[in-house]
Amino acid sequence: MKLRHGLMAAAAAATLAVSPLAQAETFKFAFQGNLSSLDPHSLNETFLLGSLNNVYEGLVIYDENLAASPGLAESWETVEPTKWKFNLRKGVKFHDGSDFTAEDVVFSWQRALAEGSDQIARASKIKGIEIVDDHTIIVETPAPNPILTSDLVYIFIMDKTWSEKNKTVTATSASDANSANYANLNANGTGPFIVKEHKPDVKTVYERNGNYWGNMKSNVTRVEFTPIKEAATRVAALISGELDLVYPVPVQDWKRLEEAQGVKPLAGPEARTIFLGMDQGRDELLHSNIKGKNPFKDVRVRQAFAHALNLDAIKKKVMRNAATPSGLMVAPQINGWSKELNTPYAYDPAKSKELLAAAGYADGFEVTMDCPNNRYVNDEKICQAVVSMLAKVGVKVDLLAQPKSKYFGKVLATGGYDTSFYLLGWTPGTMDTENVLSSLLMCQNKETKKGMFNLGNYCNPKVDELSAKIGSETDQAKRNAMIAEVFKTVQEEVGYLPIHQQPLSWGASDRVSVVQRPDNSLDFRYVVVNK
């Protein structure tokens, strides 16, 4: 308490000295991970992009409900199905004072598209950009793209002259080639906050951008971010009043936050779906006692698995009622989600046993399950629950739970998709189903880069064909009808076993109000310090 008063007094003193109108407010928060780079094109990770979105902006920005709204582009229209005209905002200045123009957009797109960038997939949704004048551009796409605006949210715009002056025209890649990349540790965006101090892994300080073009709900003048890895320390620092917001908060600590004075847990559904996948591609499973054939190729076995899972029990016992059982591979926040299709498979172990017997596995079989243990909320516990549920219908699962770096190294393409049965989670960055279709539901295809995260190679030509159409269909109703058709097919064939939507779990001080976005990003524009 003392500390808080001290801060307020200091803040008040500072305000008096500078201006009698603006009240200086500091907002302090902690996250479990660190801000690994300030380079907006370096890593396609939710926390990094969400943090940097307070500093850098795209032509389009998400609002508090994750709807795409005008950002550095004031307005846009489709001239032709593959041509978009964007009217850029006038009078916008970068943090160093230089003007934002069409040239910066072209430069940033090229930077995001070049080697070393982790935003290539997004940037390649654009074929070319034509500059009409300083504040008008025509963007051409390779095919009609109804969700181009969502892809533009995370293509952040950098200043061309600043980048050239500081020799940072290529993105900070994970390769050591650009080891001294300036943009990795320095930032110059157009966003509502300016990076004042950045000590990787220790502290990042932001200050309000007095020249920001937009209106902000926030009254915060300074934001301090500290990464705190230990959950117990994070929660203690919140309760002690040293921090205003921490996330994530372990689900089991919610009660503590409810009982403590001056703080509260903030929970909500995240747009991330947790699901199980099965190897349906190989003729013989890599890790199973069944030789010569692949049980998962038999739809009855997949159905048996689906009916053996008690999602309500996982919700209650493992997730403490914080998760939402799901029947779809996308969450309600994602465009293309439908309520009718979201019913999970019914829990029916008797039917499960029948189906297994019918498929010729009356005595069950053995399979190894791969599971991360530090990536998703309670990931290993979910897997343990799945193991015991499958044991009840006679399937013996050997659980291999590992830290995410080992796990991803094994199951992803780099490890040769070395898995037979696994747990994974997915949030489409575009907030549109198309991303899930092309990454998870389409057949693995190295050339077209489709299905690269379809680890079990669930493959149906009809789904492929529809997904390709969905990618370029601009009629929203037609598009959603096709999406529903794809989901129906995948459900009938039990291509995947969706489990639930993971909960968001933040802890906040009563001193502040924040908007909890379903993508787990913190937008400073909506942070208000209460007086």
Partner: protein
């Protein structure tokens, strides 16, 4: 003397080389760094290219040779994650750890020696027994738990002390220090006490045992017989003789204070080398992990060597066997 030194030096080199080899070999099994560096949309080809650029496709012996040669020159490469030289990162974090270790060592000595003396002199007193019991409890709790309990008591319930971080620091050249600001000093208390607790108990018990031993010796008895006051016997004669092994142990323990700061640093989000290491493990940032282990081994080897040389200088028996 020269041959002794040379022998010692050679041994140290062998130890360092072995540590480097083990550290490097171990990291081959920690996981694939590529997955931590790239996002979900990175293609297979880009991942392969990255492996090639980082030299991860070279044979083990080539990778190790490159590592050892560079390490010997103080170059631990570029951190996968931060894209800055590892030696810079470690040097930046070193003040935080060294200050923490230093304050902990002082705390352990300043509290440990008097408590040890007291419990030796008042062997059967109630307070002594209380101190001995609580010290046992304190030392059997894992550091992690002690830290969290201290945070809860002094940070959350009483709100006297900050629960995390280093507070405000002042830069003096390339060194950052928390000694010169109020918040820096306040921030030091909980983590340094947590880190000191084990050493404190160790020193206290050591002083107590040595003291009891010395008090039984003839020269203390003679001193008493000569009619010297208790205070003089206890502190001039007995304590002085107790301190030799204490100083040795403290010297050796300084290395472990630095090394074991990992847990304390991660509980208190103390921005030192230990925290850097823990985060590097989570990110599979091999250059940082390797550099840290080699550096800690170097601290140990160095301290051990100094202690050995001091022994050699002090103890004539070692010298005679040399000839």
């Amino acid at each position: 003397m020269v041959s002794f030194l040379l022998k010692r030096l050679l041994q140290s080199v062998v130890v360092m080389f072995t540590v480097a080899l083990i550290a490097f070999a171990m990291f081959q099994f920690v996981g694939d760094p590529i997955n931590n560096m790239v996002g979900q949309d990175t293609t297979q080809e880009e991942r392969e290219q990255l492996r090639e650029n980082l030299g991860l496709n070279d044979p083990f012996i080539v990778q190790f040779g490159r590592f050892a040669l560079n390490a010997a020159q103080g170059d631990f490469g570029i951190s996968y994650k931060y894209k800055t030289p590892v030696s810079d990162l470690i040097f930046e974090r070193m003040p935080a750890t060294l200050e923490l270790a230093f304050v902990s060592a002082i705390l352990a000595l300043v509290l440990g020696i008097p408590l040890g003396v007291y419990t030796a002199l008042k062997r059967n007193g109630i307070i002594s027994k209380f101190i001995m019991t609580t010290s046992l409890v304190g030392v059997s709790l894992p550091t992690f738990l002690t830290g969290i309990l201290l945070i809860l008591l002094f940070g959350v319930v009483l709100r006297w002390l900050p629960t995390f971080g280093r507070g405000d620091v002042i830069e003096i050249g390339t060194w950052t220090t928390g000694f010169l600001t109020a918040s820096g000093l306040k921030s030091l208390i909980l983590p340094s006490f947590t880190l000191a607790l084990f050493q404190l108990t160790l020193i206290m018990r050591l002083v107590r045992a040595e003291m009891l031993e010395v008090l039984r010796t003839d020269f203390v008895k003679f001193a008493r017989a000569r009619g010297l006051p208790d205070r003089s016997v206890h502190f001039k004669h007995a304590l002085k003789n107790t301190l030799v092994p204490v100083i040795t142990i403290t010297g050796l323990q300084l290395g472990s204070l630095i090394a074991f700061a990992i847990i304390t640093e991660s509980v208190f989000q103390w921005p030192g080398m230990g925290l850097l290491f823990i985060q590097a493990v989570a990110d599979v940032d091999i250059p940082i992990m390797a550099a840290y282990l080699v550096l800690i081994a170097f601290f140990f080897v160095l301290i051990n060597m100094i202690v050995d040389i001091l022994y050699y200088a002090v103890d004539p028996r070692l010298r005679s066997s040399d000839g």
